[in-house]
């Protein structure tokens, strides 16, 4: 492999339905609440959806560096649902092309392997920072995994008990069984409208290109 390509490959285990992996990545409303501000000041700001359909979306994302958290960096992010509980993500923070794949495979009845693969093409000056970027990005990915894990476990637990998005828990206790299987359906239903509020959101294209 071209040595300008930085590669990170993380594997995690959890008792979560693999389909929840797709939901978590396409849920563009949670980053400011769940990943908004870490102890060191780094984190994610609200995400804007520029385009979406039943298999992909394009978001405009803002992230903050640790300590100097007033310094924000932005990129368009393309998320593609590969149809096998994995999502490919393409972004371009600081002009560095980054390709990521988030996969989830069922290993046994109650164990799923989550794999996070990152490839960054470090051109010019960025190549000199390769060891630092690898260390920082690995820490970022691990922190994001931990924050998302609590969400995924909870989502998994209540879906198995009959929870339905935009409805809630069954009112009848007898209907709270443990046999439900989660299936993500894109685009996800959003409750708040902030994600669509960017002036370049596809919802405004008709008006913009009159």
């Amino acid at each position: 492999m071209d040595n300008r390509i930085l590669k990170i490959d993380l594997k995690k285990l959890a008792d979560i339905d693999p389909a929840i992996n797709v939901w978590n990545i396409f849920d563009s409303e949670h980053p400011p609440f769940v990943h908004g501000k870490r102890k060191t000041g780094e984190g994610m700001d609200p995400s804007f959806i520029i385009f979406e359909n039943s298999s992909m979306n394009v978001t405009y994302d803002t992230q903050k560096l640790p300590i100097i958290s007033f310094f924000k960096y932005k990129s368009l992010m393309i998320h593609i649902d590969n149809g096998d509980n994995s999502v490919t993500q393409i972004c371009n923070f600081f002009g560095v092309m980054t390709l990521q794949k988030y996969s989830a495979y069922k290993l046994s009845e109650n164990q799923t392997e989550f794999r996070i693969q990152v490839l960054m093409y470090l051109h010019g000056f960025w190549y000199l920072l390769k060891p630092f970027i690898k260390s920082y990005l690995t820490r970022w990915l691990n922190n994001t995994w931990i924050e998302d894990l609590a969400m995924k476990e909870r989502k998994n637990k209540f879906h198995k008990l009959g929870f339905k998005e935009m409805i809630g828990m069954p009112t009848n206790i007898d209907a709270r069984s443990s046999s439900n299987i989660y299936q993500s359906k894109l685009p996800l239903i959003r409750a708040l409208s902030d994600c669509d509020s960017h002036p370049f959101s596809y919802k405004h294209h008709k008006e913009l290109f009159k």
């Binding site: 935009m166 828990m169 409750a191 708040l192």
Partner: protein
């Protein structure tokens, strides 16, 4: 049928005046709190949007979803949401300073 949730004293001891428990028999996570009018309220602590947990903000008289920021008033109705979402509410019964719910 009555299901025990917690003691009234547990609400006073907690940091924000609420108690959250997962109840095995009911198969639901429950949030109990006392309003400024000393009324006991009991809701399912599972946000009907995506199943997030709720956090009580007694000063704002709201329950706020920790995942997406949906806000519910004390009637359990979402107030900052495009859809008409409502929390599942349970009927509290108070006996000997203990809080039960009637199902």
């Amino acid at each position: 049928m009555l299901f025990f949730i917690c003691n009234i004293a547990d609400l006073d001891k907690s940091d924000n005046g609420s108690v959250t428990i997962y109840h095995d028999e009911i198969k639901d996570e429950i949030i109990v709190f006392k309003t400024s009018c000393s009324e006991i309220k009991v809701f399912s602590n599972v946000c009907p949007h995506m199943a997030g947990n709720l956090i009580l903000s007694n000063s704002k008289k709201l329950l706020v979803c920790a995942w997406h920021g949906l806000q519910f008033n004390y009637a359990g109705v979402a107030i900052n949401c495009k859809a008409k979402l409502r929390l599942l509410e349970y009927k509290p019964v108070i006996e000997n300073n203990k809080i039960y719910i009637l199902i």
